[in-house]
């Protein structure tokens, strides 16, 4: 198994890896852990590493990663968003692929970065081209495994009944809907039960949940009621922000539901207690 440690803060030198792997060597994947996974739930990061390696990738974790810039971007702060985007591009552009265990962060990299480099000068400096080239190799973890690495099953086991929430960005910006369901169907012992309106927002919305706490609460209350009605014992989703929001609400209302990132189940790494703990 090839695991490399990219501990340097500097970007991988030019030419160290040409993007788009040739078939002779495994694809080099830069794992963009996302700030929430990095800080709150590293086990999702390790699940991602396991899944990527099992799929035949060489995984790197550049240390110069903090956040994708969404908090600034969605607050209208373009200057900071762009500065952070430059930093992410510099740290990751040498890899064949950039993978994030989050639909919303992956969508930020893939769909929104190019727009941050659309000023007139960006063509001359080359930033526009760099951002576009970069965005094209960014993927959300589950869709990367399924659509790019053509993983059919991860061959793990999970005993329990799960329900799956489609996080908004992944669903609507990256069309992630069937991929996680297909891979979950290959997990031995796992039963799936769909909730009502799995595609409706959980009310997280980044800073929205704090800026408009009461509205966010109304939305997540409705979501939690749909989740509990399924009778499932585990809630899964692909975005830690949504998961923390729903887990926090479930625990506050005394629910025994266990909440995990879908990667944990697909990687068979469920030793860690669930998000927000057990009852």
């Amino acid at each position: 198994m090839s695991v490399k440690n990219s501990e340097s803060l500097a970007p991988t030198p030019e030419g160290a890896a040409t993007p788009q792997a040739d078939s002779a060597r495994p694809p080099r994947v830069g794992l963009f852990a996302t700030c929430l996974v990095d800080l709150f739930r590293p086990s999702i990061g390790f699940s991602a590493v396991k899944l990527l390696e099992k799929a035949g990738c060489e995984v790197h974790v550049p240390i110069a990663q903090t956040c994708c810039g969404q908090p600034a971007y969605n607050s209208g702060d373009r200057a900071d968003s762009r500065a952070i985007a430059e930093q992410v591009i510099e740290a990751f552009e040498a890899f064949d692929y950039v993978v994030a265990p989050s639909g919303s962060c992956a969508a930020m990299l893939r769909k929104h970065y190019p727009g941050l480099f659309s000023q007139d000068g960006d063509q001359q400096t080359g930033w526009a081209q760099r951002a576009t080239a970069f965005s094209e190799k960014c993927f959300e973890l589950i869709s990367f495994l399924s659509d790019v690495m053509k993983v059919e099953t991860t061959g793990e086991t999970f005993k329990g009944t799960v329900t799956y929430h489609d996080s908004c960005s992944g669903l609507r910006e990256l069309q992630i809907r069937d991929q996680p369901r297909k891979l979950l169907a290959g997990i031995d012992g796992l039963a799936m039960t769909e909730m009502k309106d799995p595609d409706v927002c959980c009310g997280f919305g980044g800073t929205f949940c704090v800026k408009y706490a009461e509205i966010s609460n109304a939305i997540v209350s409705k979501k939690v009621s749909s989740i509990e009605t399924t009778g499932a014992d585990t809630l899964l989703a692909g975005d830690l922000g949504c998961l923390m929001n729903m887990a926090g609400k479930l625990k506050r209302s005394g629910s025994a539901m266990e909440v995990r990132h879908v990667a944990e189940v697909l990687a068979g790494m469920t030793e860690q207690p669930p998000i927000a703990g057990r009852k």
């Binding site: 590293p42 086990s43 702060d77 952070i84």
Partner: protein, 478 residues
Amino acid sequence: MELSSHKFKEQAGRALGNAQLQKALLNVEKGFVAKRQLAVDALPEFDALRDNARDIKNHVLAHLDLYLEAYEKKVVASGGVVHWAETAEDARRIVLEICRKANARTVTKGKSMITEEIALNDHLTANGIEPVETDLGEYIIQLRGEHPSHIIAPAVHLNKSQVEGDFRRVHTHLREDRDLSEPVSLLGEARDVLRQRYLSADVGITGANFLVAETGSSVIVTNEGNGDLTQTLGKVHIVMASIEKIVPTLEDTAQILRVLARSATGQDMSVYTTFSTGPRRADDPDGPEEYHVVLLDNGRSSMLGTEYQDMLRCIRCGACMNHCPVYHAVGGHAYGSVYPGPMGAVLTPSLNGIEKTGQLPNASTFCGRCESVCPMRIPLPKMMRHWREREFERHLTPAAQRYGLKFWAFFARRPRLYRAAVAVAMPILARFGGSKRRFSHLPLAGGWTRHRDLPAPEGKTFVQQWQQRGHRRSEVAQ
């Protein structure tokens, strides 16, 4: 109506605590979402039609001056009169003048959001002319002295018992034993009362879903037939329309009609789609003697060429609000603006300025459901984000939020410093989380913990652990 979008948060709070409203709001999802999906699924060409509808409007917006001139020429050729209004005030004045010339005492009105935008009813009333709303929903809210809470279902915030109360209060002819407990009896009562109003009205005012440049026709799309009675029975028909309602041809209208009703109510076609061209002809047995079109700008021409231009493609179907989790939670009145929901969150700052309306484009989770159902493919979240950018540039963003953001960005832009800080902070936070692995209270996180627990971090950060693991591995390898 008086703009109160700056009080959005308080208004939303009251809406969340209003049990009647919360009950009524359940009808939004029940009444619209599944029906739209069924209608869309039954038409394989739906997405291709959306693309074409978008392209048609983009073409019009690129040549709006020419199409407006062409349209005006046809209206005049068919015997109608076109009035241009730069502002709401101009439009009110023009409509009042036409009504006065017709010696109007009462005017009937078809459903028209644009007359809400220019606050026409108040102006007519203040000048001694009685406006009578004839759309059932509009009629109900007029009785209540309210404004529409939804652009196609103006009374969606009400329950039938509230409507019964209003009818008993205002319709003094009603006997006490008359049963009005069900929508069907309420509808019958409104039909009887309004029938008299149509027949006695002097002027009929309608909006327009489309203005067809090719023929000079105005088009209204309704289900009740009230708009048709309004415009057919009055001596004078006034069409209130904004300049971006133009479509080139009848064929183009047919294209957009295919996405309009499906997106709005889940019908393939609304019941009445009516094309009106000029006043009654010399040998017509009925129809209005005069036909006026008031073309309103009110800030729209200034949206052209800006990042908000795409908003001018909007056909007012209401799909964005029907699918919006925020609208579902608080309803339309909380927005404090004529246009609620996602389309209102983009349009209201354009019409009224961002200074007083900044909360609207902020009150979105960016879930993107609005854009995903918009028949005209308007990138609503993107435009809300643009408003947040305008706010940020002009330092209108609340100070606490701004400083919090700058503090966070300071670290996010300095990876070494960030790594050092989180390496210390997260393990401490994890320890405080204890065996429960969550917080029910945490200083500075009140916005989160007021309603939900905050999951505690596991301990060391991912990057920290990765480094340690990586070092171990390299040692083994050596």
